[in-house]
Symmetry: C2
Subunit: 121 residues, 2 copies
DNA sequence: TTTTAAAGATTACACCTGTAATCATTAAAA
DNA sequence: TTTTAATGATTACAGGTGTAATCTTTAAAA
């Protein structure tokens, strides 16, 4: 079933998460800015269909592609994987690392404090 | 120079970060619990030396291996990569995701609030 | 109607990874 | 001293990944 999405494949997914369905041509256009060759994009679309992470409907002789995975679900899986792999599952440590290593604006800090308060229940 | 550390290589790194220098035999012992074959461990040590992510001193005819990368540095790089890849650099979103998806204890929530207060300066 | 061009399918290919097995050297055991 | 066993080096090999080029079919253009 739903196979792994590689790093580059994720870039294609992002395009489709932003808008779908899209023809291969449209995906190619949106990725041209990031220097993706047309052939490469087509290869990826093919592979990703085989993997089952995207699907398509036909429109004449072209395909219109859409994600088969919800972005939130993907993010959640990636996040859990990362948490386990790098922080051995210790969320506190993860959060502390990001809070300390990144400059956060007052707004962001306040927003996060509110979030923590909401969690308090 | 300092090449990429793969997912499995990271497991070997963790062993050496925990204690080093270690002979290959010692690394093998510590990974046996996780079902790593001795040959596999040796292969990894070799590759990682070639990549430059670990080094060794000789002791008689054996090698004593040590990390060439600090764990904190590694964690920071991985964290930044993950942040960019999955959250497009948006720390706030990342933090919100983890805060909301993970059950945090009162203690953890308080600890984090303190952290945010400290950052307030 | 013949030529061309676009779409998707197939093939290519090198490098990385995970997972070992085999080889060569040499210290230790018999 | 000959055999054995441990150590690191080399070789193997399939599957994944990034990056395309070529092939086939068919709609559109000339």
């Amino acid at each position: 079933m739903s196979n792994r999405v590689s790093e580059s494949e994720q870039i294609v997914m992002e395009v489709l998460w932003q808008e779908s369905p899209l023809s291969s041509q449209e995906v190619v256009e949106r990725l041209a800015a990031q220097d993706w060759n047309e052939k490469t994009v087509k290869t990826f679309l093919n592979r990703m269909v085989k993997k089952g992470v995207i699907g398509y409907e036909t429109q004449g002789r072209k395909y219109l592609y859409s994600p088969n995975i919800k972005r939130e679900d993907f993010i959640e899986e990636e996040s859990n994987g990362f948490l386990d792999k790098v922080f051995k599952g210790n969320v506190k440590e993860l959060l502390a690392t990001f809070v300390q290593n990144k400059q956060l604006s007052k707004q962001e800090l306040n927003y996060l404090k509110e979030l923590l308060d909401k969690e308090q229940n």
